[in-house]
Symmetry: C2
Subunit: 341 residues, 2 copies
DNA sequence: CTGTTAGCGCCTTCAG
DNA sequence: CTGAAGGCGCTAACAG
């Protein structure tokens, strides 16, 4: 007994339809006008009788176009990433592409690995939410001319299309909102900035905004997502020093906002009552936590969609210079940034 | 000028190394002992000089094994799915497979589409979190003997390996917990049960548990996730009728728990104070909402990992009968199910 | 140890 | 309108 019913091939269909492979191939590729009704019908029958499906591998091998797009995501656990993914997927569907999703788990080795993997599967384009990217990998990529667009984060010294948030505008809006509502001591919290431009841009805009208000004290701190002890200490310390002055926190992304909220709760610092709080990235539970958490909502789906549109343009031969496309964030105001008397 | 630097092929490498393709192929496939050190070195050099990467498409075509696994997820937006995905991914990595992820968005047409797509890419196995599956698709799948395991949900009249939660145990635990804590009127809320066995099993176990306590009133209701009006009405009505009797809600999954929490908040029914609440699926924000929401946490990662292990077994020829593998859930107790005096 | 020879399933000239 | 022949990049006999 055969272990697996061998799939029908184009030859099987040709044989069953009493014709050559060529005609079947023509049929498959929509050249319907070029076939006599009779032949066409025989082919149709043979196909459904054998339950034939063309082998995309073979097709890709021959034509050099796989209609495959690779997506490399730094952390699929992050709702931001998932929303972006949905946008990309929609765009793929619209353009007739299939998406291969890889999750690097924020490990640079994985990133390297998946980059090679995807390219060995002959993907036609790449969307990357980068962790870091090794030099070597980048060089290879650049010479391979594989269309690629970066999402959210840029890579230092690497010229490439990027789509993401207008970080300056967003951070400015968030900061001014707090200042306008009476907060006078602001702490900007982010994960270690390292080479991540997104974090840096947000911090810089925050600083510049604060600089416009002499009465406002501003600080910033970097914490690892997993180091809840340090986070607690930082917040506690900040509150000790500025609690009387209407203190508030600006948190650079959603994952960290979750940790911050936990820490504040452990410390007994209710957001919106003892201390202000605004977080980047919309959170589905933002309205349920205490009096609600004010967030800076990104148009994530659109970012994903736009990224893939750009990839498709490049696949289709656009040779315009590298461009950076940014979207505006929207402040969703809730109780955690309540106006002070 | 060439638009794209053509990728080096195995022939190019062979030429550059002054040898035949076979030796290069051997090198690639790790048959290192079978090559003279000299040849080996020439090949190594050629490969890195040309930056050669084998074409997986061609390889797959020839060998008939692509090392590709397809994952069809009903709703990638659901954190449950993402956690499962991470488990699957880890197992893929461990087994040397690559994962193709497709999101059906709970649309049965998409499911159909992706099933065909994945099979046309010659995936060697499939993990499916099913929406519904069309008859036709199922028959084709069955005859194709493509290894497949279902996650979470079974498909009626379709015999297939399944891995998921022990729904009876979980629902029983949740129910008894509420009863033990003094709640006497229990409402089980789920999305429309339809053919989804998971929902049905949880409901049945809930009912059977309640039946053991004559003093407990039990009801159940089905609501669409998006129909917040109906949800509000149901909860309000239930509270009207049983509020005085220590009412509590059991919600069949995480996505619905979010909606329920929103509705309760709009109605001014604080969980744990005016009404009890337990939800299936752990929520990262469970401890932050009011006094916390008690959840039934599934070992999601393990479920994913186990599912893929099963797929791999089947790929490797295991012909044991179809089996169902269940994992135990764990009740994470928080304020929303606080004991009543 | 090494190279030659056939295809894998499909598409694409190029002649009927 | 139709079909035969060749080859995409790679692997798997089969000979040296």
């Amino acid at each position: 007994m055969k272990h697996k019913a061998a799939r029908a091939t184009i030859s099987d269909v040709a044989k069953a339809a009493k014709t050559g492979k060529t005609s079947v191939s023509r049929y498959l590729n929509g050249e319907h006008q070029a076939l006599s009704p009779d032949l066409k019908q025989r082919i149709e029958q043979a196909i459904s009788a054998l339950n034939y499906r063309p082998n995309q591998m073979a097709r890709g091998l021959k034509r050099g176009r796989t209609r495959l797009i690779g997506l490399i995501i730094a952390d699929i656990t992050n709702p931001y990433s998932v929303d972006v993914l949905c946008g990309i997927e929609a765009a793929c569907r619209a353009g007739g592409f299939t998406l291969l999703v890889c999750n690097t788990n924020n490990e640079i080795d994985q990133e390297q690995h998946y980059l090679q993997l995807l390219s060995s599967y002959q993907v036609e384009g790449l969307v990357v939410n980068a962790v870091g990217m090794r030099e070597e990998a980048l060089n290879l990529l650049q010479q391979s001319l594989l269309p690629m667009v970066l999402i959210d984060r840029k890579i230092p010294d690497f010229s490439c299309d990027v789509v993401g948030l207008d970080n300056r505008q967003a951070a400015t809006d968030a900061t001014e909102h707090l200042v306008n509502n009476g907060y006078r001591a602001l702490l900007f919290l982010s994960e270690p900035i390292g080479m991540v431009n997104t974090r840096l841009e947000r911090l810089q805009a925050f600083r510049q905004s604060c600089a416009r208000y002499p009465e406002v004290v501003s600080e910033n701190a970097e914490v690892a997502l997993s180091d809840s002890g340090a986070l607690e200490r930082i917040i506690h310390d900040f509150y000790q020093r500025h609690g009387g002055r209407h203190a508030a926190l600006i948190v650079a992304n959603g994952a960290l906002t979750l940790q911050v909220a936990r820490a504040m709760r452990r410390l007994g610092l209710e957001w919106g009552r003892k201390m202000g709080l605004v977080g980047f990235d919309e959170l589905e539970w933002a309205e349920l936590a205490g009096d609600g958490i004010t967030t800076l909502k990104q148009p994530t789906w659109q970012i994903g969609y736009a990224a893939l549109e750009r990839v498709i343009q490049r696949i289709e031969g656009e040779a315009t210079p590298v461009q950076e496309q940014t979207f505006h964030g929207e402040l969703v105001i809730r109780g955690s940034s309540r106006p002070l008397a």
